[in-house]
């Protein structure tokens, strides 16, 4: 039972990274400026590398012979455990920036807590990933401030993006039985405990960006339990095409 829950927990970490990496990959070649095109690809690549480590470990914990590729390419939408925030479409650049900003601030707190995990493998993956995510959070925060405290148009778009994506952030802090079991075993932190530091960091940046901090904390939920928005299926259609059309194809 415990291993089933640990498997679920690892899928949640890996799938959020994987799905967000795929979203960022959609920008490649279409970034608003060359430097950002490159930055999005690099952040996506970091997340993809982290997804590989989480999913590889998830496959080992499951013990059913599934490796990272089997988990990434041969599950359907309802079997994915990513947070709903990660599958939201790229939208305009403010939307992509807001999604990344809300996620990065949670991600860095989560990984720092996981560095102290009772599961040594979780701790070492988290320590590796945290070093990378430190740069992600700096970048996305910079852009929220630049766009928020920028032109009238960029300010309006940044505010609209924060307002639209805010209801997807609450899911990151909403624990269910799996999270509670992981917290009890010392594998993961109590998710709710990350909420205060997250809100403080995010609010400070939003104020600096001359943006309003949303007050309504109602949150969409379900992605981490496999209930997704309509967007995930389309994303997987593209991501999994090759393995679906040509099973076992290799480079």
């Amino acid at each position: 039972m415990a291993d089933t829950q640990r498997f679920e927990f690892l899928l949640r970490l890996g799938d959020s990274d994987l799905v967000l990496a795929q979203r960022l990959g959609e920008w490649v070649g279409k970034g608003p400026i060359l430097e950002e095109d490159i930055a999005l690809a690099n952040v996506g690549l970091d997340l993809l590398g982290q997804a590989r480590m989480w999913l590889t470990y998830a496959g080992e914990v499951e013990g059913a012979g599934r490796d990272e590729d089997a988990l990434a390419f041969r599950r359907d939408a309802h079997q994915f455990r990513n947070a709903l925030l990660c599958e939201q479409p790229n939208g305009n650049y403010a939307d992509t920036t807001a999604r990344q900003f809300l996620f990065d601030h949670w991600h860095v707190l989560m990984l720092r807590a996981l560095e102290r995990s009772s599961d040594a493998r979780v701790a070492e993956i988290a320590a590796k990933a945290a070093k990378e995510v430190r740069y992600h959070v700096e970048r996305s925060t910079d852009w929220v401030i630049r766009l928020g405290d920028g032109t009238q148009v960029s300010h309006l778009r940044m505010q609209a993006a924060i307002d639209a994506l805010w209801p997807y952030a609450g899911e990151l802090f909403a624990a269910d039985a799996v999270d509670e079991a992981m917290a009890r075993e010392g594998v993961a932190p109590d998710l709710a405990s990350l909420s205060g530091p997250w809100r403080a960091a995010v609010s400070e940046a939003l104020v600096e960006a001359t943006l309003a901090v949303p007050v309504d904390d109602w949150a969409h939920r379900g992605g981490r339990q496999g209930r997704h928005s309509e967007h995930l299926g389309h994303l997987l259609t593209e991501m999994q095409f090759l393995q679906r059309a040509y099973p076992d194809a290799r480079w």
């Binding site: 430097e35 690549l45 720092r112 320590a127 990378e132 700096e138």
Partner: protein
Amino acid sequence: MIAPRLADAWSALASVPDPEIPVVSIVDLGIVRALARDGDTLAVTVTPTYSGCPATELIAASILEALARAGFPDARVDIALSPPWSTDWIADDAKKRLRDFGIAPPGSAIRGTAIVDVRGLSPLRRASTVVPCPRCGSQRTQVTAQFGSTACKALYRCDDCLEPFDYFKPH
């Protein structure tokens, strides 16, 4: 039979260049963590720089190739994540070669802050760390992007000689 030649294996690895920054070797970068005998097999412990670094598989293949050429046909590469790779492991003379190559070498990776200090951000408007220009030595430089040609580098510009350059980010 392998024992007396471990030093040869190290020299072979010291000749394997980093695929993306060929002026430094994988040993210079601190990617090779250990070399040990496991029966007749030579086990090379390697740590990835970034978890998504696309060069990792190429590096592993280059290691096996270099060892085979040096007379170690029976070798394997083990990946170790912990302790996570740090730019503090880059050898000092390699840092000089990076500078000569036009890449500003990394400063210390120890920054010590637990939570991101928002006021220290927005480097496009407020440069926080001074990164001297590897070309002219000027300290009047600014970051143009946190991510450069690879994940491990940021893109900077020198305000004196006006040249853009890469900065190997502390990690």
